[in-house]
Symmetry: C2
Subunit: 333 residues, 2 copies
């Protein structure tokens, strides 16, 4: 076995209590004994057992992050933001992904119990019912980018709706009216919000123009397929629900000999790194992902250690329009 606090106590000829006090920097211990204890502890390479400590302390100095997946830049950035903010506060990060069923998600969640002080939860299954069933009432939780919650828990999400509205407004401002939309997966919360924003803004900015919606699933292939349809139907602009589909669409337009934005304007959503390297570079909505992670963790810390008058928050983080050549005034011919 590993060396425990008892071994240190025995070797130093003191009680375990004194060892604990010395190592935790309490002041009620003689400098002499403290020094001896520290020396012996170092010599024995004693390292406290986190599980045992947190059992009595009721603190783990760890936050859990339950994500639907770990694929791609979004989660990478999110984790980075969370980790950044966590490190600043001396907290550790327990990550778990759960592609699958609600049960699987619930199991992952239960496995975190007793190992985390709070939970960052991002899951398509995280509806009201699920939360009531699988979430211990005492566990501070922040919902990320899934659901605006019911006030029980804090939540934070990307303003997908507002971002889509802004993008349509921008395109309309460039003079385009027949603006098509390439949608994301129907079950995807973010995709639905972006679609909702598109519809709403179209009704307001381009009255009388029928919304033109191509089905998609966030993949490059789907974007290409939609692009082929656009080649036939010739909307003035295409707004893809994410950048990967915009890339696929761009390829289809190029293949058909269409020039962007001269013959057809194009816009995306996400501002993935590639967006600025395309020809022409892609107009898109930037999501401050890492920042969302940071804010989420901050809200969680607040929920863990509530100040005097604490109330759950429901932030929504705005996206940022990045205008590039693919949408700029292409119709001036």
């Amino acid at each position: 076995m590993s060396v425990t606090i008892k071994d240190v106590a025995k070797a130093a000829g003191v009680s375990v209590a004194s060892v604990s006090r010395a190592l935790n920097g309490h002041d009620n211990v003689t400098p002499a004994t403290r020094e001896r204890i520290m020396a012996i502890a170092a010599e024995l390479r004693y390292m406290p057992n986190g599980a045992a400590r947190s059992l009595i302390t009721r603190r783990t100095q760890t936050v859990g992050a339950l994500l639907p997946d770990l694929h791609g830049a979004f989660f990478s950035e999110l984790i980075r933001g969370i980790d950044l903010a966590a490190r600043q506060r001396g907290l550790h990060l327990l990550v778990s992904s759960s592609h699958g069923s609600p049960d699987e998600t619930g199991a992952a969640l239960r496995a975190m119990l007793g190992r985390v002080d709070g939970l960052l939860l991002m899951s398509p299954h995280a509806d009201d019912d699920f939360l009531a069933t699988h979430l211990p009432p005492a566990l501070p939780t922040v919902l990320v980018n899934t659901w605006l919650g019911n006030g029980q828990h804090s939540s934070i999400s990307v303003d997908n709706h507002g971002g889509a509205v802004t993008m349509v407004e921008h395109l309309a401002g460039q003079g385009y009216t027949r603006i098509a939309f390439i949608g994301g997966p129907a079950h995807n919360y973010e995709a639905r919000e972006r679609l909702r924003g598109y519809r709403e803004a179209m009704a307001r900015c381009c009255p009388g123009v029928e919304p033109l919606i191509y089905a998609g699933d966030f993949t490059e292939e789907a974007g290409h397929a939609a692009g082929c349809l656009a080649v036939a139907q010739r909307p003035q602009a295409v707004f893809a629900a994410n950048d990967m589909m915009a890339i696929g669409c761009l390829a289809a337009l190029h293949e058909a000999g269409l020039r962007v934005p001269h013959d057809m304007a194009l816009a995306g959503f996400d501002d993935i790194p590639m967006a600025r390297y395309l020809t022409p570079p892609l107009t898109t909505m930037r999501i401050p992902i890492a920042q969302i992670g940071e804010q989420a963790l901050q809200d969680l810390v607040l929920a863990i250690d509530p100040p005097e008058h604490f109330a759950t928050s429901a932030r929504t983080t705005p996206t940022e329009l990045v205008v590039r050549a693919s949408s700029e005034a292409g119709r001036a011919d």
Copy 2:
């Protein structure tokens, strides 16, 4: 407080032992009582405390991953691979990053003690001395992409050296001999290995040709600067130690009116997603990052639960040459 096993026992009118047995699926419990216990546990939403359980079980069902950073696709993919393999085995993942000092890294490491069954360690500080000091001898550990180890621990790393050799061989095979190299940060292990491979292969494939090395730091800007130098010195080909620098270099060549690969060939390392979207698409070395994560976890599992005759392993994962237009036969004029 949260509901504990005692509460369930009390409500069911049995002892905590029976509750424990029933919930853990032991067979020495009457179907009747088991059912009653299960029902009450569900009703009370009882969920076992992980810290307490692992204290007695001596298993946490969790592996730790200590990484130097979380920025970029490399760590994203690595974590994904680790998580994938971990989930398959019902293991959870405790992530920690530590940009900083050896002390900081050691602290992060100690904080994991008692919370993990084993450790995936990737750190520039992970030399022999550090490991002996900060690593509990009993904690199974796999070194990732840092150091080939001394046989004490298993290790796994990318074959950066072999990849660089292969790339130079490819370029030489295309007829290029004056091949320049854009290096990475001097203190970076991978950058040094790639440089070593370049030097070695140049001496063998292009005897008599003086190696031409531009300083770099893995950033696009550094690549651009090196590209400007290349425009002046006109090597036949430029091999950048990573793709981001190749991108910067490509921009510089384009700005100077040089055609790639007609006037100068170009190659990178990493195969980031953008590589295939550049014009011309970039020849580069693909690193199977997620696969490395999976293998690392598998080796760790082996170290945690050693079979009959267990010996530490020291794998090195090969990279894969991806030939694209930027290096292909550009000199056929």
